[in-house]
């Protein structure tokens, strides 16, 4: 069964497609529920994946999410082809955003994307090359006994 304990699936995301944007994270949520992860873990992964997916939609030309699941960890690698992030440290700050007014009008681009991904993941690695694109690796561990939740409300029972 060892070889069988990895599940891997990729999802393509198109820049600027606000209509379909969000479908990949929806699918990831469904998959994680079917794989018996506790609701609080699923929810954190869903929020992180959604934010990352919308970053592609909002800022990149195209890209994708790659989900890799083992019984003890969920890894989501988000890679895009696009403008890249000039100053990652700045982009990680709450409220910092380069979103256009149009994007803000739609309720996005509040500068909470990357900080929110970090908040909902156990490990987050980000690298970016200007003019080429950005890669974010999100890791959520599934086997820590105590369910962690940084939201102001307590997590639902797992």
């Amino acid at each position: 069964m060892i070889a069988e304990t990895v599940f891997n699936q990729g999802f393509e995301v198109e820049g600027g497609d606000f209509v379909r944007g969000g479908e990949a994270s929806c699918r990831i949520l469904e998959i994680l529920k079917e794989l018996a992860f506790p609701p609080s873990i699923v929810r954190r992964a869903g929020i992180a994946a959604y934010e990352a997916e919308m970053n592609i939609v909002m800022y990149a030309d195209d890209g994708g999410l790659e989900l890799t699941v083992t019984p003890d960890r969920i890894v989501i690698v988000v890679a895009d082809r696009g403008q890249g992030i000039p100053d990652i440290e700045l982009a990680m700050r709450d409220g910092y955003s380069t979103a256009t007014d149009e994007i803000r009008e739609m309720g996005f681009g509040a500068g909470m994307g990357l900080p929110n991904i970090k908040k909902n993941s156990d490990e987050m690695k980000i690298s970016s090359t200007l003019g080429e694109g950005t890669r974010v690796e999100i890791v959520i561990k599934a086997n820590h006994g105590e369910v962690r939740c940084e939201d102001s409300r307590p997590c639902a029972e797992s």
Binding site: M1, E4, T5, V6, F7, G22, S25, C26, L29, I31, K33, E34, L35, A36, F37, P39, S40, V42, R43, G46, I47, A49, Y50, E51, V69, T70, P71, N116, A142, D151, S152, R153, P154, C155, A156, E157
Partner: protein, 422 residues
């Protein structure tokens, strides 16, 4: 036979196995086996979509019968505010309540009043307890069940209030027992319901709390006799005192009624099963950050769009608009609490609503991963036409059923045909 824990049955004599219900079911809870629709009780959310679409009328609501009602010594009708919307604006709530009495009920209780009473308290609860995540309405039982099954992480966000119908039923029993000295078990509180979900929630409550209701009769089932009784009730209009609700309470009969009554700015009202699923998916992914209260109703347009209503829901909505104007704003909560001798703790759930998630592919993630990979392999072999001829609503669901051991790949007509030709 009734589907366990639910308020419907499939009539095998009428069902032709046409798969209309299978495809319409938003919970993917119906399979056609041996040419008869089968409802999977652990997946059904009681939305009634199958009942709406069945061309053979083979999906039958299992409501409370006349005989069941007559076993109670004291019979109380508790009509959904949606009932008021069914007969046009010239038929007043008073008339409707009076007509219910002539149908044989000893008391007709204005449930709309319980709605505005409970929600007056909900408003202050939200203001005191909001902590960054929206509260979800506890009123529509199909929504509660949908959340328990498909959005287990959100169950903690369902407002910990008893639905107004339960608050009303409990209060009525206490009142009748006190006033008339009739034991509680001889009082039957019967909900006059626009849907199957209310009855299902009585049979199988979302918490460990027992329901205070004793049965439910569909609006469509009493509609004919109501028309006759209303004629008499309207010709004989005298000062009566059964109708207490303001426009606010009557507004609960349709979508948006709860948020209109709350009068809080950061609220959202959604109705219809697909739109409800969509908004819950948004909520699950952290999209609704600025909303304090989310009203969701499984039926389009709210209770007036329920599968057991008769009137066109847009016409019904006009009638409600008239009543909202006519009966105005609700009184101050403190006055209402004092007048009725109510206590806030009666409004609150004593037990938590717990998730009842659809079982994962396997309780052990390692095995679940193996099964998911297997499911992908099976899915790739299927034709992808989503024809539902196998009895499952689509190819992915058939693959899922196969992995869970409930179906086999030969159930697919295309696979069978290929097998024969080889």
């Amino acid at each position: 036979m009734r589907i366990p824990d639910h308020a419907l049955r499939v009539d095998p004599a009428r069902c032709t196995g046409c798969v209309e219900c299978t495809r319409a079911c938003p919970a993917k809870a119906i399979r056609v086996r041996d040419n008869v629709a089968q409802v999977l009780p652990e997946r059904c959310i009681d939305c009634g979509e199958c009942y709406r679409v069945c061309p053979q009328r083979a999906i039958v609501p299992v409501t409370t019968t006349h005989t069941d009602v007559s076993t109670f010594k004291y019979k109380v009708a508790l009509p959904s505010p949606a009932l008021y919307s069914q007969f046009g604006p010239s038929t007043l709530p008073e008339d409707v309540l009076q007509a219910l009495l002539s149908l044989g009920f000893d008391l007709a209780y204005d449930k709309a009043y319980a709605c505005e009473l409970v929600f007056a308290d909900v408003k202050s609860y939200i203001e005191e307890n909001y902590a960054g995540e929206p509260f979800i309405s506890p009123v529509c039982p199909a929504v509660t069940r949908l959340i328990q099954l498909m959005f287990p992480a959100l169950t903690g966000q369902i407002l910990p209030f008893r639905p107004p119908r339960e608050v009303a039923a409990k209060a009525i029993k206490a009142d009748v027992t006190g006033r008339l000295n009739i034991p509680e078990d001889e009082i039957g509180v019967i909900h006059i319901t626009p849907c199957l979900a209310k009855l299902a929630a009585m049979i199988n409550p979302p918490t460990a709390e027992r329901s205070s209701l004793d049965g439910a009769v569909g609006i469509s089932e009493v509609y004919g006799s109501m028309l006759v009784a209303l004629k008499q009730a309207k010709s004989d209009r005298k000062a009566r005192s059964m109708h207490h609700s303001s426009g606010a309470g009557i507004g609960f009969g349709r979508a948006g009624g709860e948020v209109a009554d709350l009068g809080i700015e950061e609220t959202l009202a959604v109705s219809g099963v697909m739109d409800t699923i969509k908004i819950l998916k948004d909520l699950e992914r952290g999209k609704l950050r600025h909303i304090k209260y989310l009203e969701c109703q499984i039926c389009p347009g709210g209770c007036i769009g329920g599968p057991l209503t008769v009137q066109n829901r847009f016409i019904a909505s006009n009638t409600i608009t008239e009543f909202v104007k006519l009966f105005g704003a609700r009184p101050d909560i403190e006055d209402m609490m004092k007048a009725g001798g109510h206590e806030r703790e009666h409004f609150r759930l004593s037990k938590a609503i717990l998730p009842a998630a659809i079982p994962p592919l396997d309780a052990d993630t390692s095995f679940a991963i193996g099964k998911m990979r297997l499911r992908e392999d099976i899915f790739r072999k299927l034709p992808g036409k989503n024809c539902a001829a196998c009895g499952a609503p689509d190819c992915m669901t058939l693959a899922d059923d196969i992995v869970r051991g409930h179906a086999k790949i030969e159930d697919c007509v295309f696979i069978r045909a290929d097998g024969r030709s080889e």
